[in-house]
C-alpha cells in the first residue's frame, strides 16, 4: 500500500494541484462552451432544447 492509497480512505485531498487546475480548466472550458451553445441556441432559435418549427 502506498501512502497515497492511505490518504484516499479518509478525506480526498488533491495531492497535486497542477492536475486539479488542469481538470478545472477543462471543466471550465466545457462549461463555457455549453453556456455559449445555450446562449446561441436561445437567442437564435428562441429555445434551447426544442426544435424550432
Amino acid at each position: 500500500m502506498s501512502p497515497e492509497g492511505q490518504k484516499r480512505i479518509g478525506k480526498a485531498l488533491a495531492f497535486n494541484n497542477l492536475y486539479t487546475v488542469i481538470l478545472a480548466l477543462a471543466f471550465g472550458v466545457v462549461l463555457a462552451t455549453a453556456a455559449l451553445v445555450a446562449y446561441k441556441c436561445y437567442f437564435q432559435y428562441g429555445t434551447i432544447f426544442k426544435i424550432p418549427q
Binding site: E4, F15, N16, Y19, I22, L23, L25, A26, F27, V29, V30, A32, T33, L36, V37, K40, Q44, Y45, G46, P52
Partner: protein
C-alpha cells in the same frame, strides 16, 4: 496519482479544449437562421404587398385596357361603317366617272366632227369668197357695160326726143299743108283723101298671157298636233306634193283652215296650220282647190 491518470487528465483536457474550440468555432461561425428567417419573411411580406399592389395595378390596367378596347372597338365599328360608306361613294364616283368618260368621248367625237365640219365650212367659205370675188369682178364688168349701155341709151333717148320733135313738127307741117291743100281744093269741090303710110306702125311689146290650171289634189287629214300647230295629210311626193304648197282643209262645205306644207315624204306630208277658223280633225278633207 499514477502516470496513466495524469496522461488521461492531460488527454481529457486537451481533447476537451480541442472539441470545445471546434464547437465554439462552429457555433460562432454558424448562421443566424432566425434572423435570416425574419428577414426573408419580411422580404416575403413586402413582396406579397408588392404583389398585391401589382395585382391591383394589373387589374386596373386590365379594366383600363378593356375600356380602351371597347372604345377602340366602337371606333373600329364606326370606321368600318365609314369605310363601307366611302366604298359605296367610291363606287358611285367610279360609275359617274365612267358616265362622264362616255360623255367626254361623245363630246370629243362631236367636237371632232364639229372641227371637220368647220374645216369644210371654212373651205366652202373660201370657195364662196372666191366665187364672190369672181361675181364682184363680173359685176364691176357688167356695171361698166351697164354704164356704157346707159350712156348709149341716153344718147338714143336724146335721138328719140329729137326724132319725136321732128315728127311733131312734121305732123304740124302736114296738118298745115293739109289745111292749105283743103283751102286750095275746096273751090274746085275736091278734098284730100286719107293717105295710108308706107311704113307700118310699130306696136309696143306686151307680156304673153299665161294660162293656169288647178292641180286638183285631194286627200285626208291623218295627224293633228294643235300644240305645235302642225298637221299631217295622206298625200306625199308620189302624189306630186312639194314643199310650200298650200292645202285647204274643209269639213263638208265648211272651210276650217289652210295647211302650208313644210316636209314631204313619199306618201305623206306635214304642214303648218294657217288661217285657222276651226281646229281640224283626223279625217277632214284637204284639197289644193276649194
Amino acid at each position: 496519482m499514477s502516470t496513466l491518470t495524469k496522461i488521461l487528465i492531460i488527454l481529457l483536457t486537451v481533447s476537451s479544449i480541442f472539441l470545445c474550440g471546434v464547437v465554439v468555432t462552429y457555433v460562432g461561425n454558424a448562421d443566424n437562421y432566425r434572423q435570416k428567417y425574419n428577414s426573408i419573411r419580411n422580404e416575403r411580406d413586402s413582396l406579397d404587398k408588392k404583389v398585391d399592389a401589382l395585382t391591383k395595378q394589373i387589374n386596373k390596367n386590365i379594366s383600363e385596357k378593356q375600356q380602351v378596347e371597347d372604345k377602340l372597338n366602337e371606333k373600329i365599328a364606326s370606321l368600318k361603317a365609314k369605310t363601307a360608306e366611302l366604298e359605296s361613294k367610291l363606287e358611285d364616283a367610279e360609275r359617274e366617272k365612267a358616265i362622264l368618260l362616255q360623255k367626254v368621248d361623245s363630246w370629243t367625237s362631236i367636237t371632232r366632227d364639229f372641227y371637220e365640219t368647220n374645216d369644210k365650212q371654212g373651205q366652202l367659205l373660201k370657195n364662196t369668197l372666191a366665187e364672190l370675188n369672181k361675181v364682184q369682178a363680173e359685176q364691176i364688168k357688167q356695171k361698166k357695160e351697164l354704164d356704157e349701155t346707159t350712156t348709149a341709151l341716153v344718147e338714143k333717148m336724146a335721138i328719140i326726143e329729137t326724132l319725136e320733135s321732128k315728127t311733131k313738127r312734121l305732123l304740124e307741117e302736114k296738118s298745115e299743108l293739109q289745111s292749105r291743100l283743103d283751102k286750095m281744093l275746096r273751090p274746085f269741090g275736091k278734098a284730100t283723101a286719107e293717105t295710108a303710110p308706107v311704113t307700118p306702125p310699130i306696136d309696143t311689146v306686151r307680156p304673153a298671157a299665161t294660162e293656169t290650171k288647178g292641180i286638183g289634189l285631194q286627200g285626208l287629214v291623218t295627224e293633228v298636233d294643235l300644240k305645235n300647230s302642225l298637221a299631217g295629210i295622206s298625200l306625199g311626193a308620189a302624189d306630186g306634193v312639194k314643199e310650200g304648197m298650200r292645202f285647204h282643209v274643209s269639213r263638208g262645205d265648211e272651210f276650217l283652215c289652210d295647211i302650208l306644207i313644210i316636209d314631204v315624204d313619199s306618201k305623206k306630208s306635214v304642214g303648218v296650220l294657217e288661217l285657222v277658223q276651226q281646229n281640224p280633225q283626223i279625217g277632214d278633207n284637204v284639197a289644193t282647190n276649194l
